[in-house]
């Protein structure tokens, strides 16, 4: 590479980071693409029909777009906005951006655009960056109440432990308990997405909803805030029966036992979409109830006719909402109708989670995990499946039998969620 092409050391570091971390295609992405490619001939026919209809509309749209673009182009000719002004109330910014509260008060960051981030008492937080579009705040331990004013191009990032919360205009509180490895998010207004370990991609949290992630148990619960009984159950961390009665787990750790009716029918105050959405779209928007309403209207027909994507979306929605029977039927239909596919293999893992937590015992769950590991040796849930297998073997056959699995786990996932449990098993030799 000639000197003209050489990046500065800082830029070269960033390029190396991108080369290392960006570009890997997951098995799930590959599989979804394969499904889409198989539907290519049908899409081609329908596009051909639509093409002529859209030509007229596109011409008009281009004229309007050109009209709208001119002022924005002029605006973009100028440099980006200066960093937002910031006042630190009841505290100060220390070295390396640490937010230091004064005495026993609660520090608050007030930004020039009206956004306020108030840290709870004894919260350890860092202001990592402020620019013209927002800021990046990290909470190492403790809580924060966040009220972001919606602005064009706003970019606000809140890290709570290992979880990243992407915000544009909203009010919510977030807390990360380092000891318990537990994330709690309560939404008052707006919409955020939360991503991190065991969330299996971003989870959308809407106004009136609360999200709890227990990293140690690989559990995620999305619930309505007005359900006090749910909150009480969630907090009963050590009580397995109660937990099994209410907690829905994410793709990384699926939902569990048949719950009491009152729990299963969690009333959602989430506004339902008035227009019909595809199930995968409704799932990613957090609109689980609309999927369940539609499916439960004629579940037999749905299970017999819907495609693999819809069955996966239905199973996820049912697991999140604790409709375990529906989840189980959807997963079994996935395996029966799309045998050999990646989703059918994934279904084995989720069925294991349902069995494990649903009172069927560790035996049936172990069989599903082994089936999953056999069918998808490089699948998305291998780490979770191997970890759960280790736990199940320990429960059924004892610690000595589980050490073999623990060694296997440590070898493959030295920093995985179950690494601590695996080391504990090996250390108890």
């Amino acid at each position: 590479m000639s000197e003209d092409e050489d990046l500065s050391p800082g830029a070269a570091d960033l390029a190396r980071l991108a080369r290392k971390n960006v570009g890997h295609m997951s098995d799930a992405q590959h599989e979804r693409g394969l499904d889409a490619i198989r539907g290519f001939p049908a899409r081609r026919r329908s596009e051909h029909r639509r093409r002529w209809l859209t030509v007229g509309g596109a011409t008009s749209a281009m004229a309007i777009a050109a009209f709208l673009l001119v002022p924005r182009v002029m605006q973009r000719m100028h440099a980006g906005p200066p960093p937002l002004a910031l006042e630190v109330e009841s505290g100060a910014i220390g070295p390396a951006g640490a937010i230091v509260a004064r005495n026993d008060e609660q520090a608050a960051l007030r930004f020039g655009d009206g956004t306020v981030i108030r840290l709870g008492s004894e919260t350890r937080g860092t202001l990592a960056e402020v620019d013209g579009h927002g800021a990046h705040v990290k909470i190492a331990n403790g809580s924060a109440h966040v009220s972001v004013v919606h602005k064009p191009q706003a970019r606000w990032l809140i890290d709570a432990g290992p979880y990243q919360i992407t915000v544009h205009g909203t009010v919510f509180s977030a807390s990360w308990d380092e000891t318990q490895q537990r994330l709690d998010v309560k939404m008052e207004r707006g919409l955020i997405s939360v991503a991190g370990p065991v969330t299996n991609g971003p989870i959308s949290v809407r106004a009136g909803q609360a999200l709890t992630v227990k990293l140690k148990r690989s559990q995620v619960l999305l619930r309505d805030l007005d359900r006090d009984d749910v909150v009480a159950d969630v907090d009963a961390d050590a009580d397995e029966e109660v937990a099994a009665g209410i907690e829905a787990e994410t793709n990384a750790a699926a939902a569990t036992a048949p719950a009491p009716t009152a729990h299963v029918k969690i009333a959602s105050k989430t506004a339902r979409s008035q227009r019909a959405k595809s199930w995968p779209a409704a799932l990613s928007a957090g609109d689980f109830d609309s999927i369940l309403d539609e499916a439960e209207h004629d579940i037999g027909h749905v299970l017999a006719t819907r495609g693999t994507e819809d069955l996966a979306a239905l199973a996820d929605a049912a697991r999140y909402r604790r409709h375990d029977d529906v989840a189980r039927r959807a997963l079994l239909a996935q395996r029966r109708r799309f045998a050999g596919s990646r989703r059918a293999a994934d279904a084995a893992f989720f069925l294991g989670r349902l069995d494990e937590n649903g009172g069927s015992g560790h035996g049936p769950a172990l069989a599903w995990y082994e089936r999953y590991l056999d069918e998808a040796p490089r699948g998305s849930y291998v780490a979770e499946a191997l970890g759960r297998k280790m736990i199940a073997v320990e429960q059924i056959h004892g610690a000595a039998a589980a050490r073999n699995v623990a060694e296997q786990y440590i070898r493959r996932f030295p920093r995985g969620s179950y690494a601590g449990a695996a080391h504990a098993l090996l250390g108890a030799r």
């Binding site: 070269a12 295609m25 081609r44 402020v130």
Partner: protein, 213 residues
């Protein structure tokens, strides 16, 4: 029928470890042109990881990368008739992917002007398993790349992230070698300056930060 026979032969060829990729490309290209039913799936199996990598490195970690990758294949299959050298299917795929990424980057630029959020959508980014510092650094890199022209951004990413040679970039982007060199020189200089002048560690205690005592 001829296409099916060709496809069958191709599978046999592909099953032998020493089959040359060029020969397989030729067979696959003909199968695609002839409309063999399984050819799109085989093309996906062979080229999806490459296309996905180019798209995600050019656009950045984003939930739409998957959609763009699929869209490239849809368009590729629709326009496979324009392939003049079936033996150069790989180059055709890369060139096609880069052309659509270029459109996508321009579309995003327009959408940023027209809408309230950075992407025009509710934020729903695809997250990768990495520490917060790396996530932030990547976000920073791609926000700096947003300040380059589409051509400069692509040339820089293809050279410094994807590791392509200048000649490969010129062929894939359908540009002269001299144009690629000029674009790369400009982009390299610009990004280096932006990175060096945008040290995030200085931001929180910068002049814009006022403190109430």
């Amino acid at each position: 029928m001829a296409a099916d026979v060709r496809l069958h032969r191709m599978r046999l060829v592909a099953s032998t470890a020493d089959a040359s990729e060029a020969a397989s490309d030729l067979e696959l290209a003909h199968a695609l042109i002839d409309g063999a039913p399984n050819a799109p799936v085989l093309a996906w199996e062979r080229y999806a990881p490459l296309v996905h990598r180019i798209v995600s490195r050019a656009i950045g970690p984003d939930v739409e990368v998957e959609d763009v990758t699929q869209e490239i294949f849809y368009r590729l299959f629709s326009r496979i008739g324009t392939l003049r050298k079936p033996e150069a299917l790989r180059s055709f795929v890369i060139s096609f992917a880069i052309r659509i990424v270029k459109w996508e980057l321009r579309r995003r630029r327009a959408r940023r002007w027209l809408t309230l959020s950075e992407t025009g959508d509710v934020p729903d980014e695809q997250q990768m398993v990495m520490d917060a510092e790396s996530r932030y650094s990547l976000r920073r890199l791609y926000s700096l790349l947003d300040r380059l022209s589409t051509r400069e951004r692509l040339v820089l990413v293809l050279r410094h992230v994807e590791g392509m040679t200048l000649e490969e970039i010129a062929e894939a982007m359908e540009l002269s070698l001299a144009t690629v060199k000029r674009g790369l020189r400009r982009a390299t200089l610009r990004v280096s300056q932006l990175v060096d002048s945008d040290d995030p560690k200085r931001r929180p205690t910068g002049t814009a930060v006022k403190r109430r005592v």
